[in-house]
Each structure stands twice: as structure tokens, then as C-alpha cells.
Symmetry: C2
Subunit: 220 residues, 2 copies
DNA sequence: GTCTATAGTCAGATAGAC
DNA sequence: GTCTATCTGACTATAGAC
């Protein structure tokens, strides 16, 4: 079993130097994301991974130090962008006037947009896998690095749903997260039909999610 | 990586004979469930597993044939019971008079009751992992063996929610499944407090889930 | 049915040439 | 930075004694 720690802090900026053009590094990251989504963290071996990426086996240890660190980097790359986009979308909304649907869209839509970027869609599956792994160090990693995003959204929800107690609100947000993860990672039974594109399908998913979540959050 | 197939049909009744009292077999199944929940299917090795169960390494292959078959058996044992209970609960409701909450309870509560049985709670995590694995053969296995249960519940939901189109209804049920899986497997951020028992916590989860799902399903 | 012992494969990591 | 070659350890599965 692969034990992950997620304990290291962010790498200093200059590690990925100005123009090292290490396409090797990026190829590894991209391929790792794809293979982790398909086969899991334990299931995808470095040998399969480097072979698929067309790089040498030793390159992973050279660039990342270990398989474990590679996994962390796969997460960091996407989550930094995803959560920055969520915050930006939230802050763009007019302070005290945003509706519940708008706030939900600020939370959910960046996940959709991530899926527009080539292999980005696969990352949602990686994330869902990570949730299922139920790893404490992952929980800590998410909480330490991206907890402030959740907190800002939560306080917006609290403002929009003043009739809910704190505990009640947390429960509901948690259930929304479950529905979101499930839907965006595409494990549901709803399969994309042949006549809709991947993007249309995701757009529909977002629309359904927002209305479903709004109803689940705001009921009396 | 462990490739699972789920293609075999149910074993003939007499395989687990009237009183073979093979406690070895049961110990393996129970321990496997626990370790698959904790470490994943690939992460839990037969060596760790048999060692923890206090049985010999070779016993797994003797009783189940392979690790893959052991995984299938872990699923079958719980899902047979879980889905039978769901159907029984549904059929106990008065035909045309059941409310949405009652039907939802018939679906959700057996999952809670499974958790009462010692290691049964762990099975929900195994199931969540399996969902995240996104394996086609698992999808087929679930659909072939337990699809009729989903179909009966779906037709009840359709009766109770006549204003929804078929596609709309499927989307919403899918989102409910996501919330259910997420909540029952306990990966959410809501952690059980020290002063409530595991059972009270699960009971609260079920109550929140039912109301949340009812609101999400029935909104206009 | 249960054990030991081992075959055969594959994993992650690293040393050292270039 | 990238390579080959190799170390060390773990895995599943099975053969064969009891």
C-alpha cells in the first residue's frame, strides 16, 4: 500500500526554475493524473506510468523524490488553481446581494471549468478516489491548504440561510459535497448519451447540481 | 493493480455446506472487509490480511480461489442482505399511500442497520471505495445483481414525483446516491463528536439525509 | 483443511556512467 | 537531466507434506 503523508509545505518558488523547460516533469504530472484516475494510486505503478509518459523510470525519483511526493504534486497543481478560481468567482459577486444559486455556482462551476482543460476532467476522479481513501493526512492537507476557501463559502451560506443552526448548516454542506463529488467524478449511473458532447453533459450536471443543492440547503 | 471481474454467477448453495463451520472462511471475510475498508483492495495484501485474521496465507486461495474472488465474496455477502432488507422495507409500506420520506427511509435505513452489525459499518466504506474505483465490471455486477431493487424504488419515486420528467428524476436520484454514499461512508468533514455514540451519529446522519434528499428530489 | 516453503513476478528506489 | 543496471523487498499463487 502506498502511504501518503501530505505533510510537506509548498515547495519554494525557485524549485521549478524560470525556464527549465523540463517537459519531462510536466509529462510525468499529466500522465500520473490520468493513470491515478484510471487505476488508483496503488494500482498505477511508476513503471507503467513512466513508460506511458515516454520518460525514464528514474525520472520520477529525480524530479519528485518519491512516488508519494508525485501524488502530492498532482493534487497541488490542480487544487491551487481550482480554489483560487472559486474564491475569485465568489468575490466577483456583489457583496450582500448574491443569491444562493450564485454562490453555489461560484463553488461548483470552477470544477466544471477544470474539466474543460484536457486531462483536468480526470482530476475530479483522482479527487473522488482520494476522498474514498479516507486518509487522515489527506484530510489535513486539504484542511490546511484550502480550508480558508471552505470557510468563506460557509459564511456566505450562513448569511443566505439564517434560519439554519450551525450544526444543521454543516450537515447540509457536507451532503452537497457528497453529491458534487459523486456527480463531477462521473461514477453515477447517469451515463453520457452518444449525442451530447462531454461539455454539454458537464454543463447539464452543473445545472442539476445547483438546483438540487439549493433545494437541499434551503428547505425549512 | 488488482483487476476485478465480478463476472461469475452466484455460487451454488452447497458450496458453503450445511455446517462446515469453517470459521477460517468467515474470519477471512470479516478481516478482509475491515482491511479493504482501511487500505483499499490493492493496498491490503493477503499477507497482512491472513496474518491479522490469524489464519494461514494459503487459506485464502484454498477457500476462495484468488484474491479477486475474495473481493467479490465480500461484496456479495453484504449486498445480498442489504438489498433484501431494502425491498422488504419498501413492500411493508402501504401500496399507494407511502410518503416520499417513508420510501427514502426504506432505502436509506437498511444501510444504517447494516452498520449496527459490528464490522458492517466498514462495508459502507468498502462500497464507497468501489464506487470511486469506477470499475466497469463492478458496475455490471451491481446492475445485474441488484438492479431490480433500484428499479422498484425508482418507480415509487416516479409515482410520488409525477411532475418530474424521467431524465430529471434520474439525475436527482443519482445526486441522492452521491450524498448517501458520501455520508454513510463517513468521509465528510463532519466528524463524530466524543459525546455521541457511533450509533447516535449514524442515526443523525440518516435523519439529515432523508430530509435533504426529500427536498432535493421534490423541488419544482 | 491446514501448514511450510518456494516459485515467479513486480514493486520503488538508487548508484553511477554519460 | 537522463540513462542503464541493479538492489532489496513485497506480492500472489501453488506444490506438496502432514
Amino acid at each position: 500500500m502506498l502511504k501518503r503523508s501530505f505533510e510537506s509545505c509548498r515547495l519554494p518558488k525557485d524549485v521549478r526554475s524560470v525556464n527549465s523547460t523540463s517537459s519531462t516533469r510536466d509529462r510525468i504530472l499529466g500522465t500520473a493524473e490520468k493513470m491515478f484516475a484510471q487505476r488508483g494510486f496503488d494500482g498505477a505503478s511508476l513503471r507503467q506510468l513512466t513508460s506511458a509518459a515516454g520518460v525514464n523510470l528514474a525520472a520520477v525519483n529525480y524530479h519528485f523524490g518519491s512516488k508519494e511526493k508525485l501524488v502530492e504534486e498532482v493534487f497541488r497543481r490542480r487544487l491551487d488553481a481550482l480554489n483560487a478560481n472559486r474564491l475569485a468567482a465568489l468575490h466577483k459577486l456583489a457583496g450582500g446581494e448574491a443569491t444562493l444559486e450564485q454562490v453555489l455556482a461560484a463553488y461548483i462551476r470552477p470544477a466544471l471549468e477544470l474539466s474543460h482543460d484536457g486531462s483536468g476532467a480526470l482530476f475530479m476522479r483522482v479527487l473522488a478516489r482520494a476522498f474514498a481513501e479516507h486518509d487522515d493526512s489527506l484530510r489535513r492537507f486539504l484542511s490546511e491548504n484550502y480550508g480558508h476557501v471552505m470557510r468563506q463559502f460557509t459564511s456566505e451560506f450562513a448569511r443566505l440561510l439564517p434560519h439554519l443552526g450551525k450544526s444543521e448548516l454543516y450537515w447540509r454542506i457536507d451532503l452537497v459535497t457528497g453529491a458534487l463529488t459523486h456527480a463531477m467524478s462521473g461514477f453515477g449511473m447517469i451515463q453520457r448519451k452518444g449525442d451530447v458532447t462531454e461539455q454539454e453533459h458537464l454543463e447539464q450536471t452543473v445545472q442539476h447540481l445547483i438546483r438540487f443543492a439549493a433545494a437541499g440547503l434551503s428547505h425549512p
